[in-house]
């Protein structure tokens, strides 16, 4: 009986809506506290082999270590700030704590949610929200990318290097800028070819075939090292590079040498610019769940803090390790100042 009436109710929903806009039902707010971690991914979500997955890794580990529950939500294309806010508010309302927004696109909605749910601890990855109950987990991508540029400058034989960005956003330009500077400082003769998968749209992070096309184009122009900071599109570039002898790809975000989806190409993944979103996410959860002293303010994950690094998996760049470590030290010591945006 109950079921049947629900069908009827659902069917009438539309008609009712038109007239019931003012008829107040109860608010959707309800729920108890302490359900665990609330994690809100950016478009693409878990399984993007990249940024979101990296956050998922930290989340998984924290769940296991601190024996707490959690709920994951994912933003979709075309979501407005209101939709994003709705997700964060749902998590907070239902008693999830901490609540983490993965990606800068959560900035306005998270700021609004944090103002409303003052007892919930929030964190935002890759952006800054200046509120007491928000930790802003930012990484120094440009510093890590500088090291990738050093490696590329040393390894290229044709003196032609490529960079594929998912989109021309300021975040991705941080990658490009650092990479460019590292390359030029190491190998002034090397030319850099920069391309965006999609201009002005985050869709460029989910187009592996476009990534492959762009990489193919670069390879046919004698480019022999390609660094892609393009989310899922980067997998296409890695595949293309693997098919041409003597060329290298550089992975991003996670250590893509160990990425199961890319296992067949791993012999050509020279290195990866690791951005430890998992680490920062894990640290933050730990501060809330275990230490009961939630992080707040800007948490900068730079080279010094180990927030970004270059991987040596596969041993392809072991031969140039001293030079890379030297560059790393200079950055940490402040002797090299890495630009955080890319200029043509």
């Amino acid at each position: 009986m109950r079921r049947v009436s629900r069908i009827v109710v659902a069917g009438l929903a539309t008609a009712a809506l038109a007239f019931s806009a003012t008829a107040c039902g109860s608010s959707s707010e309800s729920g108890s506290k302490d359900k665990g971690i609330g994690l809100a991914y950016d478009v693409g979500g878990r399984g993007d082999h990249s940024f979101n997955d990296s956050a998922a890794k930290g989340y998984d580990k924290a769940k296991k270590d601190f024996k707490i529950g959690g709920k994951e939500l994912t933003a979709k294309d075309g979501d407005t700030d209101a939709d994003r806010y709705d997700k964060l508010a749902s998590l907070a309302e239902e008693g999830y704590n901490p609540v983490i927004g993965v990606g800068y696109a959560w900035t306005p909605s998270l700021s609004k949610a944090a103002k409303k749910y003052k007892d919930t601890d929030f964190a935002i990855v890759d952006s800054v929200v200046d509120l007491k109950n928000v930790a802003s987990l930012v990484s120094a991508e440009h510093e890590g990318s500088y090291l990738a540029g050093v490696a590329a400058g040393l390894k290229t034989k044709t003196n032609k290097v490529g960079f594929i960005g998912g989109t021309d956003s300021s975040l991705i330009k941080k990658f490009a800028g650092g990479f460019q500077q590292g390359l030029k400082d190491t190998n002034p003769k090397a030319a850099l070819n920069v391309q965006w998968v999609q201009v002005g749209s985050a869709k460029g992070f989910g187009m592996p075939d476009r990534g492959k096309d762009i990489a193919d184009g670069m390879l046919s122009n004698k480019v022999d090292v390609i660094f892609s900071a393009a989310g899922g599109s980067g997998a296409g570039a890695i595949e293309a590079t693997a098919k041409k002898k003597g060329t290298w790809s550089i992975g991003v975000d996670g250590d893509q040498y160990y990425d199961k989806g890319l296992a067949q190409y791993k012999h050509t993944i020279m290195t990866s610019m690791i951005k430890t979103v998992d680490g920062s996410v894990y640290d933050f959860i730990k501060s809330v769940a275990k230490d009961k002293k939630p992080e707040s303010g800007i948490q900068s994950y730079d080279l010094k803090r180990g927030g970004v690094s270059l991987s040596y998996s596969g041993g392809f760049i072991d031969d140039i390790k001293p030079k890379i470590e030297a560059a790393k030290k200079k950055i940490i010591d402040g002797k090299i100042k890495v630009a955080d945006t890319y200029k043509d």
Partner: protein
């Protein structure tokens, strides 16, 4: 005559109802196939959808969708497929927001100015497709799709620190300069600690009334509908079809320019790189569902808002969030099919009725005639 009207009303309601019911059934099948109890899901959506904060969300969302539906419907009414509403809307919103950020006039002057800029930009972008169609015979479907891409590229070219954008170093977000406080549109308090309802809903309602009046009550509207029903007949009747194509494209584009205004004036107060994409395409679905009528579009926009609100909740309850996307897609498909079925049925039914009534008249006339000579 009364009977006819009643039946027509019934038929008019039948199509969307048929579409929605069959869409729900199909979605139920999909849900069942994924191993979830389908009607529980609908129950969740409904329970959540009627709560008071959901109602505010739906009304605000529907404001945007309603304008999008109207913009598309203007084209549809004369058989023009303005697929470019999305680009026109984004470009309009962008320039509107940029202009608003650059000015510091009192709200009473500045708000209308922002709206005007957005509408003008939307109309101009649409006019490119209109001119191409009129003078070069380029299908507006193709040209508007391409113009969508161009609009995206143009925005990302201009939305850069130092051009029309401002980079927030901390958040990495590039946006147009925020509107001054005075240019925020009024809101309607919804009571309690609920978010307010966007005041732009008033403008949307006015736009709906304007749409109805223009199309139903003016000569221009008649000409426009005539072209939509039969271009050849309209031309023979003295309508300048080319000018009509151009002016309806301009109107559609101007309306598209309005779509972004509730978001800019009532919500974000600036244009960011992640300004919602695809609202124009949603408008196509809504115009279809609403049968291009101002009231129908309003209902469709509310339904769409309701579905999206429900979608957010479904995901939270552990359902696949894609299911609502599936439902929306299925609704659009069902709408197209149901309308065609109902239209054919209605036409057949009417022809039968006309035949029957005429036969009855003829019979009556015959008996009259027989009486006269007698």
């Amino acid at each position: 005559m009364k009977k006819f009207d009643k039946e027509r009303m019934l038929l008019a309601v039948a199509a969307p109802l048929l579409a929605i019911v069959s869409a729900f059934l199909l979605t139920a099948l999909v849900l069942a196939a994924t191993g979830k109890a389908p009607f529980e899901a609908f129950g969740v959506m409904f329970e959540y959808g009627v709560k008071s904060d959901s109602q505010v969300y739906i009304l605000n969302k529907a404001t945007t969708y309603y304008l999008a539906g109207l913009a598309v419907a203007i084209g549809f009414r004369m058989n023009l497929f303005n697929i470019g509403v999305d680009g026109q809307y984004r470009l309009g919103a962008f320039f509107g927001a940029a202009a608003g950020g650059a000015m510091g006039l009192p709200g009473l002057v500045q708000i209308p100015l922002i709206i005007l800029v957005a509408m003008l930009v939307g109309a101009m972008w649409a006019s490119i497709a209109g001119l191409l169609k009129v003078y070069r015979g380029v299908s507006e479907v193709i040209s508007t799709i391409m113009l969508n891409s161009l609009a995206g590229i143009l925005i990302s070219y201009l939305l850069v620190d130092g051009r029309l954008g401002v980079l927030d170093k901390q958040t990495n977000i590039v946006a147009t300069k925020a509107l001054p406080e005075s240019s925020h549109f009024f809101t309607i308090p919804a009571g309690g600690d609920l978010d307010p309802i966007w005041g732009f809903i008033v403008v949307a309602v006015l736009a709906g009334v304007g749409f109805w009046f223009l199309l139903g009550r003016t000569r221009f509207g008649f000409d426009l509908r005539a072209v939509g029903r039969s271009e050849s007949a309209a031309e023979a009747s003295g309508v300048n079809v080319k000018r009509m194509v151009l002016s309806s494209m301009l109107l559609s584009g101007a309306m598209a320019g309005l779509i972004g205004m509730p978001t800019v004036l009532n919500d974000t107060h600036q244009f960011t790189a992640d300004f919602p994409v695809g609202v124009g395409f949603t408008g196509i679905a809504i115009a279809l569902l609403g049968r291009n009528s101002p009231v129908g579009i309003a209902l469709a926009a509310l339904l769409w808002g309701f579905l999206e609100r429900g979608a957010n909740r479904l995901e939270f309850e552990g359902y696949d969030k894609e299911i609502v996307g599936v439902m929306q897609g299925v609704i659009v498909l069902c709408v197209v099919i149901a309308y065609e079925l109902v239209r054919r049925y209605g036409l057949k039914r009417q022809q039968q009725k006309v035949g029957a009534e005429l036969a009855a008249q003829a019979k009556a006339a015959k008996s009259d005639k027989q009486e006269v000579p007698a």
